[in-house]
């Protein structure tokens, strides 16, 4: 195994920053009261949680009472979509896209079984959705539109602002899965005209297992869980207090740093793309510019993603792949199929996602090691055309 470790899988999860952990620690130690308790120990924690809510709202341009803490992005998406569906008196119509995260797509499939109709809009070869197609898909039964702000695999940024305006014009709920974009690029719920927005702390250097749902005031969705009434009944259960504190601190920090960070990451990203494209038979997946600052997704032809990952891993490089073999499922990623990649090209895709902490030196190292890994595998491959 390599001595040097380079983590380029920030799209999967990110390290908790020291400042964030520091903010959390008191709530894993002496500040252990239940925020619902009326005694002093409870009240102190209640006020910390409400302060965290305020910070979170501020970072999104929302009002404090529009923020609901959840256990992560998956739960936020489920509450938004199922909650809206549960509110319907009879089966209705949902508009989404073919490149959504499973936590949207598979909820929609489940809702179809319950009688709802779902339109899965296609994307172009760069992963972009056409807002006009959204408008065209609207029917009198449409009650919600759910389009992700940025794709987790190929990083493509969707025109959510335009879609928000369309939804608002038709008086239809608009939800966006902003899990990948929050803390990376500015998110303003008012500008985006979004009614529901999902985010997850572990994607912006906060802890795992905590997220939030923004719900615009007045938007009506039904809770899925019942219990002690926490989070104003939308998400009952004793609050994950350290997680909530960590989320709000991480969001505060990352939003604060966006102007500087975005530039750094974009320049790392573009340099990595240029470097990788110098290798023979490599294609970039996703949009060349409209993409997450830290996201690089390329396909190495003639070789298979999981073996590339393993080869990179041997060099201490952590990345991820849209290959079936790495996820235990048999089909390649639905996103790569949706942008029209053939089976083999999809299987040879690797995602490098850079984030807080990655440096030019990391990039030097990756650009130094990748060609060797690829060459070695291509020498083994019956399809290669070796380099």
């Amino acid at each position: 195994m390599s001595d040097r470790q380079v983590y380029m899988d920030h799209g999967a999860t990110t390290p908790v920053r020291e400042e964030v952990l520091e903010a959390m620690l008191p709530f894993l130690r002496e500040q252990y009261g239940n925020p619902s308790s009326v005694h002093a120990k409870g009240r102190a924690v209640r006020s910390a949680v409400e302060n965290a809510r305020e910070k979170t709202a501020l970072a999104l341009g929302a009002n404090t009472e529009e923020i609901y803490f959840t256990s992560g992005g998956t739960e936020s998406n489920n509450i938004a979509l199922r909650g809206a569906a549960k509110k319907q008196k009879k089966p209705g119509h949902i508009i989404t896209s073919v490149v959504e995260h499973h936590a949207v797509l598979d909820v929609c499939r489940d809702l179809e079984k319950e009688g709802h109709r779902v339109t899965y809009l296609p994307v172009d070869s760069s992963g972009l959705l056409d807002p006009a197609a959204v408008e065209k898909a609207i029917t009198p039964e449409t009650f919600i539109i759910s389009i992700m702000a940025a794709n987790n695999e190929i990083g493509t940024l969707q025109p959510v602002g335009e879609i928000g305006a369309i939804a608002a014009g038709h008086n239809i709920l608009f939800h966006t899965d902003a899990v990948q974009v929050t803390g990376q690029l500015p998110v303003d719920v008012k500008k985006l005209q979004v009614d529901l927005l999902s985010l997850s702390a572990h994607k912006f250097n906060g802890p795992k297992g905590v997220g939030a749902l923004y719900r615009r005031k007045g938007v009506k969705i039904d809770p899925l869980y019942r219990g002690g009434g926490q989070e104003r009944k939308l998400r009952p259960g004793t609050e994950n207090v350290p997680g909530i504190i960590g989320l709000s601190r991480a969001l505060e920090l990352s939003v604060e740093e966006i102007p500087r960070k975005t530039k750094t990451l974009q320049s790392l990203r573009d340099r990595l793309i240029r470097g990788l494209l110098k290798i023979d038979d490599v294609v970039l997946n996703g949009h060349p510019e409209k993409r997450l600052p830290g996201n690089v997704n390329v396909s190495f032809k003639y070789i298979e993603g999981e073996s590339i990952l393993l080869g990179l891993d041997m060099q201490g490089i952590a990345a991820s792949s849209g290959s079936a073999c790495s996820s235990g499922s048999l089909d390649p990623s639905h996103v790569l199929s949706a942008i029209g990649l053939d089976h083999h090209t999809a299987h040879g895709s690797i995602r490098f996602t850079m984030g807080w902490g990655n440096s030019e030196a990391d990039l030097d190292y990756v650009l130094d090691k990748v060609p060797g890994v690829v060459e070695k595998l291509r020498l083994i491959s019956p399809m290669g055309k070796s380099v």
């Binding site: 073996s307 073999c325 235990g328 299987h347 083994i380």
Partner: protein
């Protein structure tokens, strides 16, 4: 995920490439995950004298291919035919359950190569 032996075979695959003067070639592909493997054999007096492979696939597929080539070298065709996919996985010290199917191509390619050999050189004998 993978044990040391698998990682070793992945990192240092044995008998890689095309055998220029192969007596037989066996191919196989997994429709399920798109893996493909080509196995080359050099046979003398019914004994596998040399062997090589080319594989497109995940780490488990590559390691299984490499392992197989070590297992068959020096064996008679009859002995080689008895090698199953499970034998290859066992010889590797086991594979993660989700990855077992990736090792299936190695023995299949071998069986195809032997069939190829027999159809070429032992055609008269059968039937």
């Amino acid at each position: 995920m993978y044990n040391e032996k698998v990682v070793d075979h992945f990192n240092n695959p044995r008998n890689v490439g095309e055998l220029a003067d192969a007596d037989a070639v066996g191919e196989t592909g997994s429709f399920k995950c798109g893996d493909t493997m080509t196995l080359y054999l050099k046979v003398k007096d019914g004994i596998i004298e040399d062997v090589s492979f080319q594989t497109y696939g995940c780490g488990a597929a590559i390691a299984s291919s490499s392992m197989l080539t070590e297992m068959v070298k020096g064996k008679t065709l009859e002995q080689a035919l008895k090698i199953s996919n499970q034998d290859v996985a066992d010889e590797l010290g086991g594979l993660p359950p989700l990855k077992l199917h990736c090792s299936n191509l190695a023995a299949d390619a071998l069986h195809n190569a032997i069939a190829d050999y027999r159809s070429k050189y032992e055609a008269g004998k059968t039937g």
